[in-house]
Amino acid sequence: MMQSSISDWLTIILRRDLIIAFRRSSTYITPLIFFLIVVTFFPLALGPQESLLSSLAPGVIWIAALLASLLAVETIFSEDFRDGTLDDFFISLEPSFILVFAKVLIHWLITGLPILIASMIAALVLYLPFESFIPMIFSLLLGTSFMSLLGALGAALSLGRSAILSAIIVLPFSIPTLLMGTSVISSSLINQDFSGYLMIMGAMLAIGIPGLCLLTVEALLLNYE
């Protein structure tokens, strides 16, 4: 009984938020376009040499992905906070952990997933070898999910305040993700074993889902005292 009510709760929030997101296309288009624009800037700034770009590609793709996933961070809670939906969620007796988890999932679906797809285009135009595509996608899959978790915490802490604040809060903490993510791709470029980095990223995600979601709940509750 309890089991089904929690999953019902999860699907209700997911459905509601997905509908809202899809009715307003800018929510998932903007991070995507932003990602592609940032990627485009690097060849323009550094010159179009193939050897240079392919060696820089892991870093470029990752920096663009981090920035793009930060872009939409503010929207995770702010809308619901402003119109009072968040209050309703907290008043209802359903676990707030599930709420935060659903919000993180939504954020990943509207930023992480489009970035994941766009990263293949980015990898093509930056001359990343085809062998590195699969490691890149896996690293982005784990990394952007962790970024969504961190972003949710940043958004909760800076709720109702400037968007730049959440970026400053989140960016220093995203450094391990950046390093591991780029290491995965660069190791695959020189035919080294990269599974270790992926495992660490997976471990961070596994600890982050309960840990960061709980802390995000705490941070959200700060606004209701």
Partner: protein, 253 residues
């Protein structure tokens, strides 16, 4: 046993009450300032004038007596802040939040001091102001995290809320700092062979080690002094409308 436990409990509760802390700290403040400045002075004087000259680096190495303690302090203060954060989250002790807030700028300053002295030390010995070495990079990131904590605190109007927000972030920080250190280590070994190692002297001569140890103790005491001073200001600032503060300064109650 029960008696001791009760004593410890009472001591903690007394520590956590701002007026009692203020009274208690006024008593130890003179002692703390004398002892800390004395030990810091002895350590620095010993290090600067009596410790032997390094046979490879000459007198330049003496910056170590400032650089190493401040780097140690930068990390220890973060640990201290995370402990304060835990206490603040769990027991909501008022003073722990104030401690967290007062320790942050001190920790950031020590980390910055470690970075700057390291940079000054690096120029004559390595020939460059900055190297993307694992340790330097992780210290720089630690500084950014301090900046994030201070920035977050300053944007939230309500001080107790700000304390709790910073507590949450400091807990995330203490969990992620080891990961950052490890990942920077791996990153560094992947990208470039380590050209320089800072800690290549495994056996430091005791003539250098002893003053360094005294400097480290002196820095810790100096931190305790700075923290107490900062905390007393913070207590007065936040409790300025309370009776005990008004009475203390002879205002109307």
């Amino acid at each position: 046993m029960n008696k001791i436990w009760n004593f410890i409990k009472r001591w903690f509760i007394e520590m956590g009450s701002p007026p009692l802390f203020y009274k208690w700290s006024s008593k130890i403040l003179p002692w703390l300032s004398i002892v800390s400045i004395l030990i810091l002075g002895v350590g620095l004087y010993w290090g600067m004038f009596y410790a032997p000259t390094d046979y490879k680096q000459g007198d330049v190495y003496r910056i170590l007596f400032i650089h190493v303690p401040s780097a140690i302090l930068g990390q220890s203060i973060f640990m201290f802040m995370a402990i304060c954060g835990f206490i603040n989250m769990i027991w909501r002790a008022k003073i722990s939040g104030m401690m967290l807030k007062s320790a942050a700028p001190i920790g950031a300053s020590f980390t910055l001091l470690a970075l700057v002295t390291g940079s000054i030390w690096g120029k004559p010995t390595w020939g460059t102001w900055w190297v993307w070495d694992a340790r330097l990079t992780s210290t720089l990131i630690l500084f950014f995290i301090y900046a994030a904590l201070i920035g977050l605190h300053s944007t939230i109007e309500d001080k107790t809320k700000a304390d709790r927000a910073v507590s949450i972030l400091s807990i995330v920080g203490i969990a992620i700092i080891p990961v950052i250190k490890k990942s920077v280590d791996w990153w560094q070994t992947l990208h470039q062979p380590s050209t320089f190692t800072i800690t290549s002297s495994p056996s430091m001569s005791p003539d250098m080690y002893q003053p360094l140890l005294i400097c480290v103790i002196g820095f810790y005491l100096f931190f305790a002094l700075l923290l107490t001073l900062n905390l007393r200001n913070e207590v007065l600032e936040r409790e300025k409308n309370k009776n005990w503060v008004r009475q203390l300064f002879g205002g109307l109650s």
